[in-house]
Amino acid sequence: MRLPVATRYALRSVRRNTRRTALSVLGIGIGVGLALFVDGINRGRAELFVRATALSGTGHLRIVPREWRVRRDPDLRLADGAADLQAARALPGVAVATPRARVQALLAMGTHVVPLELLGVDPALEPAVWRFARHVERGRYLEPGDRDAGVIGRAVAERLGADLGDEVLASAVAKNGEIVGAMIRVVGIVSTGSDEVDAGICQVPIAALERLTGRAGPGEIAVTFADWRTVEAERAGLVKALAPGDEVMTWKELTPDFEGHMRQDTAASRIVTAIIILIVLLGVTSAQLAAVLERRREFAVLGALGMSGRRMAGLVIQEAVALGLGGGLAGLAIGGSVVWHFARAGLDFRRVMGGSYAFAGLLIDPVIYPEFGAWLLVEALSIALLATLLASLYPARFASRTDPAVALRVAQ
């Protein structure tokens, strides 16, 4: 099929001044490439934040007693933990669903006391949702069959003066209101790199916590998915399957500060992208306007032949689309290569930030892996085409208003 003459004309016009066209395409390409890189980092950071949240023990979803949303009372227990656990594990895409229980406690050794939230976990499953199980600095993490064992954070150990093999006293308020206590043998000391996080860590087998408090069953179930983007879709199905009295909260609801932080980051990167696009847009406008001015006589002749202003504008816009496609592909090549490289190697901010950092009680590894995927193609072409189309509006209007009589008079 032959292209319309107008389209052939537009495409060949783009090639008239190859240096200008090459520079325009390169300019669009660099701009689009930068925008892709910024968005790639933003997406990677979102992934990082979600991973940090989910694997800090929060889970992508958490099943909690309904009252917990308001009271946040660690003594609350699920209405039917076993049924909820079964329902969660039946969901498609679920990686892990693990039960937990909490209690406010005091750890004491000698004259030293540390207040914290004692966490009862399933030793076999917890490492899948709590990444710091792999950060045991000394000793080991909990194992199935442990009875009175516990792992504590490095800051807790320092404050108590405790070491591996030491026994610390955990005191808490039992279900019947009495203050009860149990000895915990330190089998592991965890160092996350953040004192803030380390100072709150004390994990024991969930059965040990049940014995201590007299409260049976889990107080929550942490659920992680293979792909966190499916969480919202799966949530509704899980809600229907839960025991009455229990409900589901997402990681966003559990860590609202974090969600706000992510939104701020996204907004900031969108502003950066908008600035980049604006700069590209002005550059393309300038180049296209120069091209139209150079061909003012030609447009005047087309006008004399009866070409309407709208069709002349269409010609300029077709040229912009050609430039946009070229620039989009150049941007894809530039931005895609950079994103691909850092998606594999990671963008390591540890040198400037000095290791990991904690935010809202969650520990974050400042190594961002920009997201590489099909979105790059869609976004590269969308940004390039949108920018060049916007950039062509003024030159197109200028071309459409060329007065054939005046232009011919000037030309002659």
């Binding site: 032959r2 003459v5 004309y9 002749v301 006008g303 004399a304 032949l305 009866g306 309407s308």
Partner: protein
């Protein structure tokens, strides 16, 4: 709007009554035309002559609906130019008028065939437009140049392609501003013969401006402008048909 050349012979194509055009140059008003009265009928081959600044190009611009008169009435193919909007004038030019420019003004990135086809495409012609464009080039004996771009053609060839572009849609009126000004004598002759042949064969009306006495000799009617007024309007005896259409008026097998 029909631009086809098939107007009744003698039907008025251009009617100008007291047409005046004044340009503003800064605070000064410069009259270019001062009350032109002129009637041009279908099938005429008319030359506009006069010294530089006499108003030839201005009058062609007005007749070609590129501009509007300051005063007076100008009707082209029944359309009052002074009252038409910009878009309406563009439509009139597209469907009913053909233009030949002094500097050829072919689109440099298009081939000869595409230059001709482009006008037909603008008119909304369908898939047959390429064949029609090629037919026009063949008629003007330019088929060999169909795939050449303007830079690959001589000035004379470019101007003949420009004529092909102007007549491709069979407009009722073809306007040419100094069409031979950039051509040598031989190419100027070829071009004038070509235009006369088209005028005779398709009944198109040709109005062209010129300084060249050799070109004026081809005209059937010569209108002389002086200081924006018609100074003289003189008819010439028509030339024998075989002079402009090879084979016409000759005995079969005649030399």
């Amino acid at each position: 709007m029909s631009g086809r050349a098939a107007l009744a012979p003698g039907a008025p194509v251009i009617e100008a009554r007291g047409v005046t055009k004044v340009f503003a140059e800064g605070p000064q008003l410069v009259p270019a035309l001062r009350g032109i009265d002129l009637t041009v009928r279908a099938g005429e081959f008319l030359a506009l002559v006069g010294p530089s600044g006499s108003g030839k190009t201005t009058l062609l611009n007005l007749i070609g609906a590129l501009d509007r008169p300051t005063a007076g009435e100008l009707t082209v193919l029944g359309r009052p130019i002074g009252t038409l909007s910009r878009a309406e004038r563009a439509t009139l030019r597209l469907h009913a008028l053909g233009f030949v420019f002094q500097a050829y003004n072919l689109v440099p990135v298009l081939t000869a065939l595409e230059n001709v086809e482009f006008v037909l495409e603008l008119q909304g012609a369908g898939g047959e437009r390429r064949a029609r464009a090629l037919e026009v080039l063949r008629e003007l004996e330019l088929a060999d140049l169909a795939q050449r771009r303007p830079a690959e053609m001589s000035g004379g060839q470019q101007q003949r392609v420009a004529v092909a572009r102007a007549v491709a849609a069979r407009p009722a009126l073809v306007l040419a501003d100094e069409p031979t000004a950039n051509l040598d004598g031989e190419n100027a002759e070829i071009l004038m013969h070509l235009m006369r042949r088209l005028c005779a064969a398709h009944g198109m009306t040709f109005v062209f401006s010129t300084h060249d006495p050799r070109v004026v000799a081809h005209a059937q009617r010569v209108v002389t402008l002086l200081d924006g007024r018609v100074a003289r309007d003189e008819a010439r005896p028509p030339e024998p048909a075989h002079e402009i259409m090879p084979g016409a008026g000759r005995a079969p097998g005649g030399a």
